[in-house]
């Protein structure tokens, strides 16, 4: 290690507690000047908390942060900006109806000499020049943000961050909404930035990309850093192993799949926009994994399977019977269940009680001539709470106050209550800490042992390897590979997710 490579950032032994949960347990994170440093960890490992502390949004309970030469006990967003650190968030913090030029120069608009009036023309030219020179990207300064593609908007965000001449840029899951082609553009930009001497912290759970773009990677698990590796010298398996902490057999509850007859048959399903020609079969007692990067079409597939979006081609057959026109009402009536990826927005009515949420899809069962029979409803939900071990003071507790894991159990409980047969689980363990995840996995096993069929959509490799019987990999709207989970490896899943070429073999 050269004497000259100094550390630009040192987070030392950070502790952060939230009510009932220790999010960071003496976690440390060190970044060398000028490198591209990845940060990985499962959902709930503490990545988001760590970065929020760095951003000054949270204050650590213990530990210190050294940026350059100065050490701090806690930070504020203003301080962080002054110290030369900029963040590229997942959310696009841009005004939709502003032009690119207006967005980049927001807060420091160019005016005519002597007058407080904005010189739009020169601002536009400056913006275009700036984009071309610093990022090598050509865009028209007059274009409105809302007319840009997601990738272009991200470029604008980066340009804006660069205006502050930062020493370090932190990217938070930057490629989540990008297509492969756009990822390449982003990586070009990152290489340019690195060449200009800017340090990059890159948070992602696409290990494939970490391997491609990062010099080193730090793995977080259970709120602590468990290893910092040089990406060139490691393998995906090793990283995954650090992320999970145990062998897969130890992490996931044992499964003894008993696969029955087919219950759902999908034939040549497509919406002619985001996914095409999808065919597969789901059997009773089976957990079928579906994975792929965003843009692979897996989100659209699930939405269409549930009737949220209309399909253009193909058939859906349930127990051999075709579904003509599908909408969520029909889907639910026929025994489908959806656990959506955005739990608080789409999965639950957060201001309703546990009781109301659990009974929501089966209110007819607890009604007499339209009137809600409260006692019956309460009994049913109490049974479900007990059965799923949902931790709540009472069934009348408002669901908003429950932890993520328990909220998710409420969602599942709702479907169990309506006796669903096919479960579509869309990234079910996002935002749930590790302890609760195991319980969700146990739940999934219970579902299938009762004869349900489960489609598990996930981008967490360990989850796919530990919980599924088969895995379908989607790429650019089609199923590109089908695995028997038994014979799948993390590496191969990743490789197929990005189109079929493995990139961890040499760089």
């Amino acid at each position: 290690m050269s004497e000259q490579t100094k550390n630009i950032l040192e987070m030392q032994a950070i502790v952060k507690d939230f009510p009932g949960v220790r999010a960071l347990d003496h976690a440390s994170f060190t970044v060398r000047a000028g490198e591209v440093h990845g940060l990985v960890g499962e959902n709930g490992a503490g990545k988001s908390t760590l970065i929020k502390i760095l951003a000054g949004v949270y204050q650590p309970d213990e530990g210190a942060i050294t940026i350059g030469e100065e050490t701090f006990r806690s930070l504020t967003p203003h301080m962080v900006e002054q110290l030369g650190i900029q963040f590229i968030h997942q959310e696009r913090y841009l005004v939709p109806h502003f032009t690119i030029a207006e967005s980049i120069f927001l807060g420091q608009e160019k005016c005519y000499r002597g007058l407080p009036l904005i010189d739009h023309r020169s601002m536009t030219r400056a913006a275009e020049a700036y984009l071309a020179e610093t990022l090598g990207v050509v865009l028209k300064g007059r274009t409105l943000i809302r007319d840009l593609s997601v990738a272009e908007a991200q470029i604008v965000q980066i340009a804006k961050a660069l205006m502050a001449n930062p020493k370090m840029l932190v990217f938070d899951e930057p490629t989540a909404p990008l297509a492969r082609r756009e990822v390449d553009i982003l990586f070009d930009v990152i290489h340019r930035l690195k060449a200009q001497g800017i340090t990059i912290v890159y948070i992602s759970h696409y290990l494939q990309e970490i391997a491609e773009i990062c010099d080193r990677v730090t793995v977080l698990r259970n709120g602590v850093d468990v290893g910092t590796l040089v990406t060139r010298e490691t393998t995906t398996e090793e990283i995954v192993g650090l992320m999970v902490g145990r062998t897969l057999e130890e992490m996931f509850p044992p499964r003894e799949p008993q696969i029955g007859p087919a219950i759902l048959e999908i034939e040549r399903l497509g919406d002619n926009e985001r996914f095409f020609d999808i065919s597969f079969t789901l059997h009773q007692g089976e957990v079928l994994g579906i994975t792929g990067l965003i843009g692979s079409g897996r989100e659209a597939l699930i939405d269409t399977l549930y009737g949220l979006d209309a399909r253009e081609t193909g058939d859906i057959r349930y127990h051999g019977q075709p579904f003509k026109r599908l909408n969520p009402v029909r889907a639910v009536k026929s025994g489908l269940a959806l656990v959506p990826r955005d739990r608080r927005k789409h999965g639950l009515i957060v201001d309703f009680a546990v009781n109301d949420n659990i009974n929501l899809s089966s209110l007819n069962e607890v009604a007499r001539s339209g009137f809600l029979v409260r006692k019956q409803a309460r009994t049913r939900s109490a049974e479900m709470v007990k059965s799923l071990d949902i931790r709540t003071p009472s069934v009348e507790t408002i669901v908003r106050y429950l932890s993520g894991g328990n909220q998710q159990k409420v969602v599942v409980g709702r479907w169990l209550n309506s006796e669903a047969e096919i479960y579509l689980l869309d990234e079910p363990t996002v935002g749930i800490d590790v302890g609760a995840k195991v319980e969700i996995y146990q739940l999934v096993n219970r579902l299938v042992s009762r004869g349900a069929g489960v489609i598990l959509v996930s981008t967490e490799i360990p989850e796919l390897l530990g919980m599924t019987d088969r895995i379908l990999v989607m790429y650019r709207g089609r199923i590109i590979k089908e695995f028997e989970t038994r014979s799948a490896t993390a590496d191969s899943i990743l490789a197929w997710s990005t189109g079929g070429q493995s990139t961890l073999e040499g760089k």
Binding site: V332, H346, V350, I398, S403
Partner: protein
């Protein structure tokens, strides 16, 4: 890392929280005591019945508004539904149509308006505020055109049965208007708070997308909410025309803002700050008592409006403080 249970806030409400939640009720009691002390006539049964009679129409319209807001929208055209019902009913009565038919026709007019609103909002996807604003404009215009500029239509010798609705007294003293309002109140209470349909409407109003994924028939219930709103506001119009022996164009406008105010005052009662039937009743009673009391103690009539505004402010601030505590 283990998972602990939740909360704390929902278990034992602090004094501050109690104050916030029962603030409106407390305010109501205080106001009543205040006026009772200042004016001997306030607590007389005759006066109390007077109050009930005066708030009857507002209550009915406010219940309509409660439904729509519960369903996640808003209905600026409730006043129009009220006016249309009166317009249709009175016009038919003038043509010597059998009065129950005129009544039903009036109600149907309101329901139809509600249905039209639902087409704009649910089918085309226009935001409820702007869609019902448009309906409001158009409805006002239709009334002006119909009456050639805004002249009321008077009915001499109204059919006895119809007149009774507005001016009758049950058992010789209890205003029939109040009775109707009471019945409507009961129906709404049962419907929104006790049936599964009310539950679904509430879910849809809170989180439409989540309800959709839960398999609820979102468009069906949204449409229902607007039709109910139109129908109920129409009932208010029937009562108004019956008590005034006439159809006075654009009278519905008075009730629009008051009903919104009453509904939001009512949300302070709910721990989750959601619109609710009993809360709306409280809001309406507050307005009614205020107006009546101010009158009795001889305060300038116009302070009534100021008082209304102040009341809504207080309700809103309570609500805001409530939310802050929760966050």
């Amino acid at each position: 890392m283990s998972q602990t249970t939740m909360t704390l806030d929902s278990e034992r409400p602090s004094f501050g929280a109690l104050l916030r939640q029962y603030g409106a009720l407390l305010a109501f009691l205080l106001v009543c005591i205040f006026f009772a002390l200042l004016s001997p006539t306030f607590t007389q049964p005759g006066n109390l019945l007077n109050i009930l009679e005066n708030i009857a129409i507002l209550l009915v319209v406010s219940l309509a508004m409660t439904t729509v807001i519960t369903a996640g929208g808003i209905d600026l055209s409730v006043g129009i539904a009220l006016d249309m019902a009166a317009l249709v009913a009175v016009s038919l009565l003038k043509a010597d149509v059998f009065w129950p038919l005129a009544l039903v026709a009036g109600l149907a007019a309101g329901a139809l308006l509600g249905f039209l609103n639902s087409l704009l909002i649910v089918r085309i996807g226009i935001s409820p505020f702007l869609a019902t604003l448009g309906t409001l404009f158009i409805g006002q215009s239709i009334q002006r055109i119909y009456t050639r500029g805004g002249e009321p239509i008077y009915l001499r010798g109204m059919a006895q049965g119809y007149k009774y609705i507005g001016r009758g007294d049950l058992f010789g003293f209890f205003p029939f208007e109040a009775l109707i309002a009471g019945v409507v109140l009961l129906i709404f209470y049962l419907f929104i708070e006790r049936t599964i349909h009310g539950k679904r409407i509430r879910a849809i109003g809170l989180q439409k997308e989540a309800s959709r994924r839960a398999g609820l028939r979102v468009t069906h219930y949204q449409t229902l909410a607007y039709v109910i709103s139109g129908l109920t506001a129409a009932a208010g119009g029937i009562i108004l025309s019956a008590s005034g022996n006439s159809y006075v164009p654009l009278s519905g406008g008075f009730y629009l803002l008051d009903s919104i105010g009453a509904v939001f005052i009512g949300t302070t009662i709910d721990p989750e700050a959601r619109p609710n039937v009993m809360g709306t009743l409280l809001g309406v009673l507050l307005f009614g008592v205020m107006a009546n009391g101010l009158n009795l103690i001889g305060i300038n009539f116009y302070w009534k409006t100021v008082a209304k505004g102040a009341l809504i402010f207080v309700a809103l601030i309570l609500g805001a403080l409530n939310r802050r505590k929760r966050a």
